[in-house]
Amino acid sequence: MSHVVKVQNISKKYLIQHNVQEGYSTLKDAISNQIKKIIKRLRHPFKMVQQSKHTTEEFWALQDISFTINEGDRVGIIGRNGAGKSTLLKILSRISEPSSGSIKIRGRIACLLEVGTGFHPELTGRENIFLNGAILGMKYREIKDKFDEIVAFSGVEQFLDTPMKRFSSGMHARLGFGIAAHLDSDLLIVDEVLAVGDAQFQAKCLKKMNELGASGRTILFVSHDVGSVLTLCNKGLYLEKGHLKAQGLIDHCVNSYMSDCRLKSLHWEGDEGDEHIRFTHASLSQEQDTREYFYQHESATLTIDYEVLKNAPQLIIVVSVWNQRNQGLAYTHTGLDIQNFSRYTQTGKHRLSFQINGNLFHEGEYAVKIECLLHGIKHIITDQISLKYNVFASQKNTTFGHLSNQQGISLGNQWLLNTRSR
């Protein structure tokens, strides 16, 4: 397959100025500073007056980045704030030039770093479609041909002849995305656009981008939302502090990104407990893989290592799953295993495994909490052991993008359909 983008060793350097001594911002400050200086001079006539100094510091926003993108790839760029994602997009979309290195891009580039760049508030919706289209590089004829499609996508028929200044911000975003999405390009570059609209708009955008991706368009996509990157992209680039830390399959990149985010800990090591029981290890893992996140269809295996020091029949281990808003979703405990109940509390070292059915959960961020109590007597462990993990929609099913407001647990996927043919 031929590559659309070939990036070789690009770096981008910025010079940052530090104004060491005095930074006047207004004329008033400048004058009062001068006067102070003169007074200082008069009081200490032989002391050298320190001159104001500008020191410049080099800042490398990107360092030595190389990659290629093949035709039809949907590439997600991930990384934390300030990792250089936007700088990279700016260079790829030709807005700023790299300090060194070379880039080759075959074909037409459509870039959407912001929704509705160049919309003029005084012009009507209709006029702005033409203006914005032209700014993005469309020909008059092209815009005219696509006009109806754009209007239908953005749903602003009613307001076509209203000045843009009276548009709501949602309409603004929809129209902006609509225009860019209808631009025939070989490479579509999209930056965080989805952050603007409501959930419905985001779903619509993702769906449109999926369609574009399915039709073989090459897409470069930046988002903080790992979920939408996973649903949309097949390849990934993971940037950290201006360096390319991982590239290749999206799973691999997201995995590397997630394992760098300290918040999500799939492992817990320690020594917690009292004279009855001590916990030393807890972890969540997939059956075969070693990814740092889970797909919806996968079940997670929870493994707990503990040692019972003093036999106590009231000892119960509780496992519960909590969502991001700290609402408890699911709950179980060893006391439910009636036949084997006593085996859990025999003295000695144990390894307890538990399967959490992955189909139970919507995509999102979850915490597994492990508690331990002496029933009716006291809580031994309440908040000390908790594991955090992310569930993402499985990559294969991308047609519907996100449905908003997925809360609680999932009813799963056990449909039964009878069709009587007429």
Binding site: I95, E97, P98, R108, G118
Partner: protein, 269 residues
């Protein structure tokens, strides 16, 4: 189409051709926006020069009684005002054109040169409307229109290049040094008095003519007067040569400087 992004970009002209419609769209936007929500709309393009013409004719023609080569003072002054207004407005607007559109420069790519150059088109439209009005006025006032009117396209071209050269320099400089936003309006105001707008260049004393001719607008304005009325004077050839040289040199150097600075616009704006 293969796009190479390296510090030296060779395909600029190709890009410019691909984006040629954007010249028109930006000009169209600015004209449309200027007359939106204005009661009198596009007729302001006629009213403004007419009003200034009336004021100038009253003050300089009637009260100060300045000579005007035996041509009706009103049309004489209007013929000088047209190129001057075009140049002044283009200089001021091109100067601000880049810094007033930071979102375009930071968020989308197209050849930046389109932004200042489209400003000239905007003012060229105003110019054309006023020029048509001048010819109609001349017709009504029985001012003879000679063959020299055929040279008008040449002078329009000349002033376009003068504006383009000046505009390219000013717009690129303003990105780095905002001082030009303050300096330019001042010079435009001041420049009208050292250009033959309200008077004919023939009233300048002979020993100062060489100094006066250094202003490139002198040759252009005299050129327009020659095209409209056929009036000429001994220094016209010299002033016109200076104007043509200025137009060529400023355009070439302006292009060079603009291209050199363009790469850093997004980082500096």
């Amino acid at each position: 189409m293969l796009t190479e992004i390296t510090p030296q970009n060779q395909s600029y002209l190709k890009m410019l051709i691909a984006y040629r419609e954007l010249f028109y769209f930006f000009a169209w936007r600015d004209i449309l926006v200027r007359y939106k929500q204005a009661l009198l709309g596009i007729s302001w393009a006629l009213i403004r020069p007419l009003l200034s013409m009336a004021v100038f004719a009253l003050i300089f023609g009637k009260i100060a009684n300045l000579p005007s080569d035996n041509i009706n003072y009103a049309v004489f002054v209007l013929a000088g005002m047209l190129p001057w207004q075009l140049f002044a407005a283009a200089a001021m607007d091109t100067c601000n054109s880049l810094v007033n559109n930071p979102h375009l420069i930071l968020k989308v790519y197209f050849p930046r040169i389109i932004i200042p150059l489209s400003q000239i088109i905007v003012h060229l439209v105003d110019f054309s409307i006023a020029a048509a009005m001048l010819i109609i006025l001349m017709f009504f006032m029985n001012v003879d229109i000679g063959w020299t009117i055929l040279t008008l396209p040449f002078f329009i071209l000349l002033i376009c290049f003068t504006c383009a050269g000046t505009g390219l320099w000013l717009s690129a400089l303003t990105v780095n040094y905002r001082d030009f936003r303050i300096i330019v309006p001042y010079f435009v105001q001041f420049g009208m008095f050292i250009s033959p707008v309200a008077y004919g260049s023939f009233i300048i004393a002979e020993k100062w003519q060489w100094l006066y001719a250094l202003n490139p607008m002198v040759g252009i304005i005299d050129g327009f007067r020659w095209a409209f009325f056929g009036t000429t004077h001994p220094y016209f050839r010299m002033t016109l040569t200076i104007s043509i040289l200025y137009a060529i040199l400023s355009t070439l150097s302006g292009l060079y400087y603009f291209r050199k600075m363009e790469r850093f616009f997004a980082d500096k704006i």
